[in-house]
Amino acid sequence: MPVIKTQNLTKEFKVFEKQPGLGGAFRNLFNRKAKKVLAVDSINLEIQEGEIVGFLGPNGAGKTTTLKMLSGLVFPTRGTAEVLGYTPWKRPIEFRKAFSLVMGQKNQLWWDLPASDSFFLLREIYGIDRKKFASTVDELTTLFQCRDLLAQPVRELSLGERMKMELTAALLHEPKLLLLDEPTIGLDVVAQSSIHKFLEEYNRSRKITILMTSHYMRDVERLCSRVVIISSGKMVYDGTLDGIKKRHGNEKTIRVLFRKQVSPGILPGLQASEVRGEELQWHVSREEIPKFISHLAGRDDVVDISIEDPPIEEVISKFFQSQVIQAPTLPAQVES
């Protein structure tokens, strides 16, 4: 049985248009125009136990709204969803005990008290056995190397430390599903890496299912075997990260270091996209690579050549741009 299954999950919001300026503000008092915004449009999603799925899309694509529906925070306008066998927006207690939602920009710990106090409270809220609780706290804080922070008031912790505590709090009741909304937002590379390592190990040992949104491709590359992309509320891709690279990352980046500065048009028909002293850079399609190499082969002023895939951010960005334009008519592209 899938952990998450949605059919035509749709959410419309009613929003009021605000007219600009002081005059507009007065007109708004008596004459407000409402419009409906389609935040999530007929999403069909199926996620199996133990998967880590990256849920991507540009700002305003509908990612967080989808997570809110899956966690029961908001009712959908249409469609169905089954999460861990429950209808989320009915919010039965058993369902609430079986998942966790962590939002990178919000905290659920008591701000003025040490995290350990919030943990004790969560033990009571979720009815966790005392021995089990002690061993879980021990395990999680060891994994995160944050045991010495337990007695410190949350407001005194750094952003990275706070996120470690948030994740520890979210996992105390051993949920089967973890919904993460930008868990590494604002964190430095070291803190990000520490969270990646933790989630990887936790997923491996507990088979927990994770659905996460992130704007950091490092998160996605490191953790997600599968990505789902939504744009303008519609699901436009469901497959592997490599699948997107193949489809939208056809170009390779070639860097060539010459003995001395050369003209960007040194190769016939191939203008360099970037010049950095003696180094030139080209974006070349896979098919053009042999021709490119043969041009260089006869030269004796080449010091070094490197051929790289474009950064994943660039590929995803291209994907978003193409989908934003095509989204209203595009059916979801599903890749197994």
């Binding site: 925070l73 998942f99 003025d112």
Partner: protein, 268 residues
């Protein structure tokens, strides 16, 4: 219930974090009482009679002292505003995704705050009451004390669930400050906080005002203490208070249910 007991303990702990603010807000809150006493002395001094609507100066001052005690139980500072803010900013999320009941959570937190406030105000209030002991002509009998404490508990419950309902209007109107201002002003008058409701006898509405939920937040416990509620009416009045507590409890459940149905969780 264990978890709500622990929520209460934690709320108490949190309340005590900012010690300076805590002591100032609890200890100094009784000071306006002194100005009220001076005001009423001036009113009676300029009046041509010893009694106003059946109240002597001593009784009015005793009434005002007792109203302060009623308000210690029934006032809910910050409840509605904070709840509306939590709805607007999305921090209400944790109550919706955890196995918690929002209303019971807020109730246990509020009980903890009241315990902290009442226990630390006990000494300054005791001092004030001792100093003003001469203003009290009568004290309740044995059963009268029981009725009085029940009325204070009812004041707490009516006050809590009433303000909870106001705060939950935040599901529809994201800002409730103005509404709360209107309600607080009305409640200040209708609850008998400003003057005993009996002073409004000439309006012909006094019995209706006494039957409103507001009277349980200030007037009723104080009037009960001073023997201003006829003995034959006490049980009926207490039952009416229980009705109001149950009514607002039920109303809060309905509002929560309807509010969540159209909640957009913006900011969550």
């Amino acid at each position: 219930m264990g978890k709500y007991w622990n929520i209460g303990k934690l709320a108490l702990k949190e309340r005590l974090v900012y010690r300076g603010d805590f002591f100032l807000s609890t200890v100094l809150r009784f000071l306006p009482m002194v100005t009220s006493i001076l005001l009423w002395k001036a009113v009676f001094g300029s009046a041509s009679q010893d009694q106003l609507s059946g109240f002597s100066l001593n009784q009015v001052i005793a009434y005002l002292l007792l109203v302060h005690v009623s308000r210690m139980f029934s006032s809910m500072p910050g409840l509605a505003v904070n709840l509306a803010r939590d709805i607007r900013e999305g921090t209400i999320k944790k109550f919706l995704i955890q196995p918690l009941d929002l209303c019971t959570f807020l109730l246990s937190s509020r009980v903890a705050h009241k315990i902290a406030y009442i226990s630390t105000s006990l000494i300054p209030y005791a001092g004030l009451f001792l100093a003003c002991l001469s203003f009290f002509d009568t004290f309740p009998s044995g059963l009268g004390w029981v009725y009085y404490f029940i009325s204070l508990a009812l004041g707490f419950l009516v006050g809590f669930y009433f303000e909870l309902c106001i705060g939950m209007i935040g599901f529809w109107f994201l800002e409730v400050t103005s509404l709360l201002y209107v309600v607080t002003t009305l409640s200040f008058f209708l609850s008998g906080h400003l003057i005993p409701l009996d002073f409004l006898d000439q309006t012909g509405w006094v019995e209706a005002l006494k039957a409103l939920p507001f009277s349980y937040m200030a007037y009723f416990p104080a009037a009960l203490f001073l023997g201003k509620v006829p003995e034959g009416e006490i049980v009926g009045r207490l039952l009416l208070g229980i009705f109001w507590a149950i009514f607002f409890w039920g109303l809060s459940r309905v509002i929560l249910h309807l509010g969540l149905k159209q909640y957009s969780a913006f900011g969550a």
